[in-house]
């Protein structure tokens, strides 16, 4: 129905969600106008407490976006300010206004940058269009939270989700959790990077990686944005291998950049690529999983497992996690906070392992003190790799809080 005459008339767009079932989100209707100033209407379930604040914030955000004339209709379901700002910005952009402009909420001070080799037993998936899960995610104690722009976000919502994820990275305190973002498959993922990298996520997951060049492309773009924004802290990369070709190229992918900190596998897509059924036991993906572990180890990075998708089956999850650790993985994804504890327990070294490792470490320290180059325990000589493994295991057990 569009015509040349109509381009000058009001343009309408919307973003966000509202309704009886919606919590902690907001819906913004945005009508761009050519004159008449800014007109705002507000309906909110928290109006008696925050009505004035929401109106003020809306004016502020519109100002930052350079919006002079618009009718903005807000239906608020108790959204926090960083969510409100993101939804207004998304609606304005969709209306073709404020392109290239951002309204950045007040920043929460960044925590220390994450170490390449840090503990990554669990990463909790947070859908990029479901803001209600963000604020309390870290309270459940995962090693990482992962703001997802890929599979959990509808194709038509990608633009709004990346603004929301950007604001979330900027304002939400995730405590000691590593802050990860899963971008979309390239090239769409590059648009995600443009929006979120400026907020210093600790790690970017790239889905459906098959060639090392894909990693390099992401790495280059991250480098450019960091340079432009004066960011010096590391932003790690975790490629997700989800196809037969990706698995074949595992080592090349893992070594594509020194910023690759871990390699992981996506079993849903992998099994469908193979044309086999994904089972709870996972025999069909045994080769691929072993290949990922081997390639990661060879490249000196962590191997991280996929997710376990039945949130009600805690025994199955435990079995999966224990087998995963035995196979050489250092962690896996969680799709529900209830999975975190079970995963942590599964990836925890056993008391016997810790005891053994501690003996080796003690023997190593004694040998060091005596200036001996050979470490021995009782009548047995200990090989250097065994010593290294023991040192790492003890250090990990400390990081997990299993020993002090």
């Amino acid at each position: 129905m569009s015509s040349a005459v109509e381009t000058a008339s009001p343009r309408f767009a919307e973003a966000g969600h509202w309704g009886k079932e919606v919590r902690s989100d907001v819906h913004v209707g945005f009508e761009a106008r050519d004159s008449g100033g800014v007109e705002i209407s507000l309906e909110s379930r928290v109006a008696p407490y925050y009505g004035t604040a929401i109106l003020e914030q809306t004016r502020e955000v519109l100002g930052e976006l350079g919006v002079k004339h618009a009718r903005v209709a807000i239906h608020d379901e108790g959204a926090l300010p960083f969510i409100i700002a993101a939804r207004i910005e998304a609606a304005a952009r969709r209306a073709g206004i404020a392109l290239g402009k951002r309204s950045l909420p007040q920043q929460h001070p960044l925590r220390a940058p994450s170490q390449k080799d840090r503990l990554r037993r669990s990463r909790l998936y947070l859908p990029g269009s479901e803001p209600k899960y963000y604020i309390n995610a870290s309270l459940h104690g995962p090693d990482a939270v992962i703001l997802d722009l890929e599979d959990s976000v509808h194709r038509g919502e990608k633009d709004a989700a990346r603004i929301l994820v950007r604001n979330t990275l900027r304002t939400v305190d995730f405590g000691s959790c590593e802050r990860m973002v899963r971008i979309n498959q390239l090239p769409l993922g590059l648009e995600d990077l443009a929006e979120v990298v400026g907020e210093s996520p600790d790690l970017i997951l790239i889905p459906k990686v098959e060639e090392p060049e894909q990693v390099r492309e992401v790495d280059r773009m991250i480098g450019e944005i960091k340079a432009r924004n004066g960011i010096i802290r590391s932003i790690w990369i975790m490629p997700i291998l989800e196809s037969a070709l990706g698995i074949e190229n595992a080592f090349a992918v893992a070594t594509a950049s020194e910023n690759v900190a871990a390699l992981t596998i996506g079993l849903e897509d992998y099994t469908s690529d193979l044309g086999v059924v994904k089972t709870a036991e996972g025999h069909e993906s045994q080769y691929a999983r072993s290949r990922v572990v081997n390639a990661a180890r060879a490249a000196g990075v962590q191997a991280i497992d996929s997710v376990f998708s039945d949130v009600a089956d805690m025994d199955g999850l435990r079995r999966w996690g224990e087998a995963s650790r035995a196979a050489g993985f250092e962690g896996m994804g969680c799709i529900h906070p209830g999975q975190i504890r079970v995963i942590h327990e599964a990836f925890q070294p056993t008391a016997v392992e810790i005891e053994k490792a501690r003996k080796v470490v003690t023997a190593f320290e004694e040998a060091q003190n005596k200036g001996l180059s050979v470490v021995s325990l009782g009548s047995k000589m200990i090989d250097p790799p065994v010593v290294q493994r023991a040192l790492k295991l003890v250090e990990r057990a400390k990081a997990m809080g299993v020993i002090s």
């Binding site: 926090l80 300010p81 309390n136 309270l139």
Partner: protein, 519 residues
């Protein structure tokens, strides 16, 4: 009600009316400070020659029974909420009163429910003058909009008993819904198609009211055994098709929460009780029927098993979760005040260790001791709590009535009172500078557990010491409040009106706070 209301400030600084529904009031003096010295109220003397030797007290219908009770203008008529939102008897009685043509009744329910909203029409028509009892939903709005002719009076379950014994409320006619009864009036709640478990809320009325009517849909041959209501307190028995909707008698409150945040709160509560040394062999606890409280029991149960700990008794409102504790040998008894689900109802009917109790033995201020104070720990909810640990359960932060007090105030007498609540709901912080309506004074509330940490009342140094060295997130309450306000922003306090529309009574009958008309 256009006359000016005199206000006085009570011991916790709240402005409260000195006169409520024509009766002088005593402002709250502090917990345990008010001790009236007089004799308890008593029902009129009756003689058994006025009752049939055959024992058959049946009459044709409720209207006949009410006429025979001499119901007239301005009387007090009471009903009870053991059938919860499924109750049909209260409205049946009030409608019958309307047909008789009486006016200006005071309806004295042990609690009202949303399904009874047509009581509003009876107030509009003048049949009911006002309600003294919990009001929420449409009835609550009617009250806080200032449309009720008298002032609402909110009392705890124990406080309702106290008001009757003090003579503050004299019940003229009590109408008791009975899932099973005989023609003599013996009645029981744990059997029959409308079984609900305990009839505890009706016990005071059955002994103190001038006239008592038992309404049943399951008339059995004499004797009805066991009898929770004694037939020799009963004047008339009315048989009806149905006393309630069984689907709504057991409410939906017994769903264990699935929210990860609320589960975290529940687990923190259990961890706290374990770390503080309260969870030990022979201990006792009470948990309500809310999602967090139920989940708390699940976590506590695991810890009890791990530590080989058994409780001596748990206090109901009973639910499936408590019944499982009993069946698995993790508690010797359930002492039950009300029954929230069918598992509870069945257990009470079949297991002698599942004991029906009344608000009189557990909650009554004028009892010679209360079960409630023997309980080691109680886990409760609240709509708001302030930095001085005062809590609100009756109103939203905007002043509208939300809940009745129930047994909440009475439970505060437990050894350790824990409030388990999310630190904010829909962006609205739960920890505030000052509660909208004070329902429980901070001196009675020991611990506030939120998903962001555990705040212990500084009055309880013993508890603070007990959990020192644990890895629990114990924090000052101001700290949690500041964190939440940083996330949500500081809310504007809604402006309340200056006209009282209801009062909140403390367990001793003094006035703790005022519910103001909402503009």
């Amino acid at each position: 009600m256009s006359e000016r209301v005199e206000l006085a400030h009570n011991a916790v600084g709240r402005a409260v009316p000195t006169m409520v529904n024509g009766k002088p009031q005593i402002p709250f003096l502090g917990a345990g400070k008010y001790q009236p010295r007089a004799r308890k109220a008593a029902p009129a003397i009756c003689s058994n020659k006025d009752y049939p030797d055959s024992g058959d007290k049946r009459v044709a219908d409720l209207e006949t029974a009410l006429r025979k009770c001499g119901l007239r203008d301005g009387m007090v008529i009471s009903t009870h909420h053991h059938l919860r939102d499924g109750d049909k008897v209260a409205l049946m009685a009030l409608d019958a009163a309307a047909r008789i043509g009486v006016k200006d009744l005071m309806w004295f329910p042990s609690a009202s429910f949303p399904s009874q909203k047509s009581a509003i029409e009876l107030m509009e028509k003048g049949v009911i003058h006002h309600i003294e009892g919990s009001m929420n939903g449409p009835l609550g709005d009617y009250c806080t909009q200032g449309k009720m002719r008298g002032m609402g009076v909110l009392r705890s379950h124990g406080g309702r008993y106290q008001a009757i014994q003090d003579g503050e409320v004299h019940v003229d006619v009590a109408v008791i819904a009975a899932p099973t009864a005989d023609f003599f009036g013996n009645a029981d709640g744990s059997h029959g198609k409308s079984a609900c478990g305990s009839l505890g809320f009706a016990l005071a009325d059955s002994t103190y009211a001038d006239r008592v009517i038992v309404v049943t849909d399951n008339l059995v041959r004499f004797p009805c055994v066991p009898w929770q209501i004694q037939g020799n307190n009963v004047d008339f028995v009315v048989e009806v098709e149905t006393i309630g909707d069984p689907a709504k008698i057991v409410s939906g409150t017994t769903q264990i929460t699935r929210s990860p945040d609320r589960l975290r709160i529940a687990e923190l509560v259990a961890q706290f009780l374990r770390a503080a040394g309260i969870m030990k062999n022979g201990f006792s606890f009470q948990a309500g029927a809310g999602g967090i409280a139920l989940a708390f029991v699940q976590y506590l149960k695991l810890m009890m098993k791990q530590d080989g700990v058994k409780a001596r008794f748990v206090r109901g409102g009973s639910t499936k979760v408590l019944v499982e504790l009993l069946q698995e040998g993790l508690t010797d008894y359930i002492l039950d005040g009300q029954t929230f689900d069918l598992d509870g109802v069945k257990s009470m009917a079949n297991d002698p260790r599942h004991v029906a109790t009344s608000p009189f033995i557990s909650y009554n201020y004028h009892g010679k001791g209360n079960f409630a104070s023997l309980v080691d720990a109680v886990v409760l909810g609240a709509t708001e709590v302030d930095v001085n640990f005062n809590a609100n359960v009756v109103t939203h932060s905007d002043g509208r009535l939300l809940h009745g007090i129930g047994g909440w105030q009475n439970c505060l007498f437990a050894g350790c009172t824990v409030l388990a609540l999310p630190s904010f709901r829909d962006r609205i912080p739960v920890i505030v500078d000052e509660v909208t309506t004070m329902t429980g004074p901070g001196e009675m509330i020991d611990v506030v557990v939120t998903e962001r940490g555990i705040a212990i009342n500084p009055r309880r140094m013993d508890l603070l010491d007990a959990v020192k060295g644990s890895n629990l997130p114990v924090r000052p309450i101001q700290d949690i409040k500041a964190e939440v306000e940083k996330i949500c922003g500081k809310p504007v306090r809604p402006k309340l009106g200056d006209r009282p529309c209801a009062v909140v009574k403390w367990v001793d009958g003094t006035v703790l706070d005022t519910v103001w008309q909402v503009s």
